[in-house]
């Protein structure tokens, strides 16, 4: 089943053309990676799919729902982790999870289940009883990731999920994401700079540069196509001929 279908998607911020017609599809249960240099248009793509931004051209569907016309239906199926995000400072970690769970769950029992799951994923232990204001950047990130996953979305859209996390935590998070995809059948769309992460995590990858998709394939296919040993080399070779920004 096709979870995400993007066709000739375009986005202009005033004069800046962030997306110049990109197309890709994501199948159910897949972990799909969007990789590319800074300013390539990764976050813009993810925000459009998360119904935050409206495309200026082309179309995007999530589970068959148009992200513009059926935004509410889309929002009921997804959970989105922004690139830069915070949690409510005046709430404690556990209160934040409870607050979010109540908005997703139909009943208290389900909400309690989500909170339990969130506690486990966040791995914050007793610190969950402290105010979010006292958390470090990495702790907040773990809390937000826990929130994004505990609600059991059909599609999780994660913008650089492991940014700001140390090696151990990043590793754990990747494991969790993988487990979710295998066990719950959750579909993932992640963006990343970390090629190691992408290689370990993603079933398929799209290379994006200057608002255009250059390549789509499994990490193996990409490595073969570019005669590269790892994705980092693929990335460098794919980006080089483009010569950075075009006008």
């Amino acid at each position: 089943m096709t979870v995400v279908k993007v066709e000739e998607l375009e986005k202009e911020y005033g004069k800046v053309r962030a997306l110049r017609g990109i197309s890709f599809e994501i199948k159910e249960g897949e972990i799909f990676g969007l990789i590319g240099p800074n300013g390539a248009g990764k976050s813009t793509t993810l925000k459009i799919l998360a119904t935050l931004l409206k495309p200026t051209g082309g179309r995007a569907e999530v589970f068959g729902h148009d992200v513009v016309r059926e935004a509410e239906e889309v929002r009921a199926l997804i959970s989105y982790l922004p690139e830069e995000a915070g949690a409510y400072k005046n709430l404690t970690g556990i209160e934040y999870l409870r607050f979010m769970a109540r908005l997703y769950a139909k009943d208290e029992e389900k909400a309690a289940g989500m909170v339990e799951l969130g506690k486990k994923i966040s791995d914050l232990g007793n610190r969950l009883n402290d105010k979010v204001a006292t958390y470090s950047k990495g702790m907040t990130r773990k809390l937000l990731l826990a929130r994004a996953l505990m609600v059991m979305p059909r599609l999780a859209i994660l913008d650089e999920p492991a940014s700001g996390l140390d090696i151990v935590n990043a590793y754990t998070i990747r494991k969790t994401i993988k487990r979710f995809a295998r066990e719950e059948g959750t579909t993932f769309l992640v963006s990343s700079h970390n090629m190691l992460e992408v290689e370990f995590l993603c079933d398929r990858v799209a290379l994006i540069n200057s608002g255009k998709i250059i390549e789509i394939g499994t990490p193996e296919e990409l490595k073969e196509g570019y005669h590269a040993e790892n994705l980092e080399e693929v990335f460098m070779r794919a980006v080089e001929p483009a010569g950075g920004e075009e006008s």
């Binding site: 935050l52 995000a85 409510y88 607050f99 908005l103 997703y104």
Partner: protein, 426 residues
């Protein structure tokens, strides 16, 4: 629990836990105003309380004694007699004993009275510091009052000796009795008293409305801007919740806090103003100016709609700000000028203004609660209903735009640049 309640509860919780906000909203009015009132009251009470008078008498006739006795008998006056042979000595003594008033009865006091000449009493106010002079002046006026009474008594005595039948009528051939005609009722209170009560009402209500509107508007704007500043807005907008629910919960959350704050301000202000109005001892009800339940309900509705308007306007404005601070700036620069005309109504009756100014003021929603209060007092419910219609229309329009802007991507991308532009390098 419905989404709305979950969101509204979170809103209230965040606001309550914001120590700065709580301090400014509830602690300050509940402490500062009563304290201010107490200080004022204390100042007045000490001024009105016991007056300590030191008297030195150089007179050896009977009338010097009479004056001392009259002062001793006067309420709130304690008299200390001192013996001194010179004025300077008496003043020094009084100063050392931290007294405020020295009354000097001169040598020829009784002689003058008996000789039907004007007798003189010298009253010295003694200043210990160059601070405020309230105590000294009040004490002096009290001495003067006592002396007036005394001189009247002496005059009556003299008139009696001249065989005048009614010395009172002789001394005061004309007397004024003042009453007030208000709201088609005669009230047994002097016009100055009534106008005092009305003035205190006229000042306190606009002040409360002004504070409430500006404070809640700031809170609502802050609640939106904080979502941007703390980077929680993007997550919030992707939750499976209707955007209108988000707007409604924010408005209700801040409105609840606004009402709590208004209550705190009202209690605070009342105890502050109370220190003035208790003097007059006249309530509005006694003036026949009570508000009926209908009036109360209509007034509450007008206040409610005004707050809804202010809050939704503030939320729209906050969308254009990047952080709480610039949100406060934007909101202040729009809401304050709008709320300010309310103060004009402190001093003027809207019906006395030229038509243009009148309609200008009426167009400003923030004048309506003040007018509504007056209409409620006078029972003009028709005019209140008109206010309600106008405010409802206005609130609906701003609410609609608030919901619209929250459903569009403008809520994420709209911003007015405040001098500097921030952008990540590509």
């Amino acid at each position: 629990m419905s989404d709305f309640w979950v969101l509204a509860r979170k809103e209230i919780m965040s606001l309550i836990r914001d120590k700065k906000l709580l301090f400014g909203l509830i602690i300050v009015p509940l402490i500062i105003y009563p304290t201010m009132g107490k200080v004022m009251q204390l100042g007045m009470e000490t001024a009105q309380g016991e007056t300590h008078v030191v008297i030195v008498s150089f007179d050896d006739g009977p009338y010097g004694r009479v004056l001392v006795n009259a002062l001793t008998a006067a309420p709130n006056v304690t008299v200390t007699l001192i013996n001194s042979s010179s004025l300077q000595g008496a003043l020094n003594r009084a100063y050392q004993e931290k007294q405020n008033v020295l009354v000097v009865i001169p040598r020829n006091f009784s002689d003058s009275i008996e000789g039907n000449r004007i007798a003189t009493v010298e009253v010295y106010g003694i200043f210990h510091s160059i601070g405020t002079g309230v105590r000294e002046s009040v004490s002096e006026s009290r001495i003067n009052a006592v002396i007036n009474v005394l001189s009247e008594e002496i005059a009556k005595l003299k008139l009696k000796n001249l065989n005048v039948g009614q010395p009172e009528a002789f001394l005061h051939p004309v007397r004024a009795e003042s009453r007030s005609f208000i709201n088609h009722h005669i009230v047994n209170a002097s016009p100055s008293l009534v106008s005092g009560v009305l003035t205190s009402q006229a000042i306190s209500l606009p002040l409360i409305v002004f504070l409430m509107v500006t404070i809640t508007a700031q809170m609502a704007a802050g609640a939106v801007a904080a979502e941007k500043e703390n980077k929680t807005l993007e997550t919030l907008l992707t939750l499976p919740v209707k955007r209108t629910t988000i707007v409604a919960s924010k408005i209700s959350g801040t409105a609840v806090m606004g009402l709590i704050a208004a209550l705190a301000y009202m209690v605070g202000l009342k105890s502050y103003l109370g220190s003035f109005t208790t003097e007059t001892g006249v309530t509005l009800r006694e003036l026949g100016l009570g508000i009926t339940p209908t009036g109360m309900l209509l007034f509450a509705l007008v206040v409610f709609l005004t707050i809804v308007f202010a809050l939704s306007l503030a939320m729209i404005l906050a969308v254009f700000a990047e952080d709480v601070q610039s949100a406060n700036t934007v909101v202040s620069s729009v809401i304050l000028p709008l709320a300010f005309p309310a103060f004009i109504l402190m001093f003027t009756d809207i019906n006395e203004l030229p038509a243009l100014a009148r309609y200008g003021l009426l167009a400003d929603p923030f004048t309506h609660p003040i007018l509504a209060y007056r209409y409620a007092l006078s029972g003009s419910y028709g005019l209140m209903a008109l206010s309600l219609v106008y405010l409802s229309a206005l609130s609906l329009v701003t609410l609609y735009f608030a919901a619209r802007i929250f459903s569009s991507e403008k809520v994420l991308t709209a911003k007015i640049s405040w001098g500097r532009k921030k952008r990540k390098s590509g």
